[in-house]
Amino acid sequence: MPRPHGGKLVNRVLEGKEKERALAEAEELEKLQVSRDLASDLESIARGVYSPIEGFLTSQELENILHRKRLSSDLPWTMPIILNAPERQVKTIKEGDALALFFEAQPLALMQIEEKYVFNREDIAKRTYGTVDSAHPGVAKIGQLGSTFFAGKISLIDALKSPYDRYKLSPMETRILFREKGWRTVVGFQTRNPPHLGHEYVQKTALTFVDGVFINPVIGRKKRGDFKDGVILEAYDTLIKNYYLKDRAVMSILPYEMKYAGPREAVHHAIIRKNFGCTHFIVGRDHAGVGNYYRPYAAQKIFEEFPDLGISPLFFKSFFHCRRCGGITHEKACPHSEKEHITFSGTKIRAIFESEELPPKELMRPEVAQIIAKHSNPFVE
């Protein structure tokens, strides 16, 4: 099993008396409201999902990441983890202050301000997303921020509760789980959709040369028309129960909001899975992409820059069903014309459910399709 990124799992979750003290302190301190997205980041920092990051980045680290895709320790890191200062608090909060971070009325974490700095938002957007086009969802989000940021370590009081907490495991838990299962090699698979047969074949192909597969759906704010979190989890539960060996597949969720940063985010996702204890990570052709902002396979090519990442990316070509082959195959194995192919398009599958029909068994396992269909509306509104 690989060591966590940076050598040690971060744990900044307060417990027992420390937590009680922090809860009381949170009521006294200057309060800063954070979004649901940032609340997920706080939890990931505290539980070691983002190891070795222990808080929101300083200007120096942010610059390193944007310009070199590395922390000052030379460790690969590609995504900015930053805390924007709300306009009304820019002047009142200063370096050295302690803050309480809240989501609505819930105290989430305490934070000591190590640095307060101004940073060029366009530079953040351009280097992270490769564009400054405000139509890009990540760029649009940066555009809504002010230009002042707070840096400092955080201590988690409580994470946001979700209806799916029983599916949530920390990196320490997955590492112990993998060891209990006797897995020395584990492939991580990220998803934000219910599984079609293409997903299953990618996972099972990877499983031919590792000990176990770690299915890690991203749970959090989604776009209108995306499948609901509960639907995705039920669909995977059904697939695993019916089509996977019990001791070869594990599913747990990742509370996380997609940033759509394409190549940079693909590396970030790999680092997250390394912290969970994976030795391999499946990277798709357009991993974490949106629109036409990234070239096909750019999310795979970026891994060439990181010989020291400590997790091996696995690159797959797209799988499809071939009528002539009579099963699932891919472009390196199937000699038949495209006319014989049925591709696994998420858009196509969504359209089938929207018309209240079931996808054919060549696209999706019937048990999985039925579980999705039993929801009167499986989509985010």
Binding site: M1, P2, R3, P4, G7, K8, R68, D74, R166, L169, M172, E173, R175, I176, L177, E180, K181, V250, E304, F306, P307, D308, L309, G310
Partner: protein, 79 residues
């Protein structure tokens, strides 16, 4: 490159010596590859070697292990 960029670069990079014939061989080898300089190639190779040498994972405490295993059992992940 501005003066401040030069200063930053000086702080983040250092110079090492390698034999000149080796330097020349590397320079030949990287022609037509994505490497833009001998330095970037040497950095790449060293990063790869240093990462390979990372030690085995540190063990968790017995208390952590027991607590985690109890939760994993309760959630049905292990028997």
């Amino acid at each position: 490159m501005t003066e401040s960029e030069k200063t930053t670069k000086r702080k983040k990079f250092t110079t090492i010596s390698i034999p000149t014939p080796l330097f020349k061989k590397v320079k030949e080898r990287i022609k037509g590859t994505g490497f833009t300089s001998v330095s970037s190639y040497v950095t790449y190779v060293l990063r790869e070697i240093v990462a390979e040498k990372e030690e085995e994972e540190e063990p968790f405490t017995k208390e952590d292990e027991e607590r985690v295993k109890a939760r994993l059992r309760a959630l049905g992940y292990i028997d």
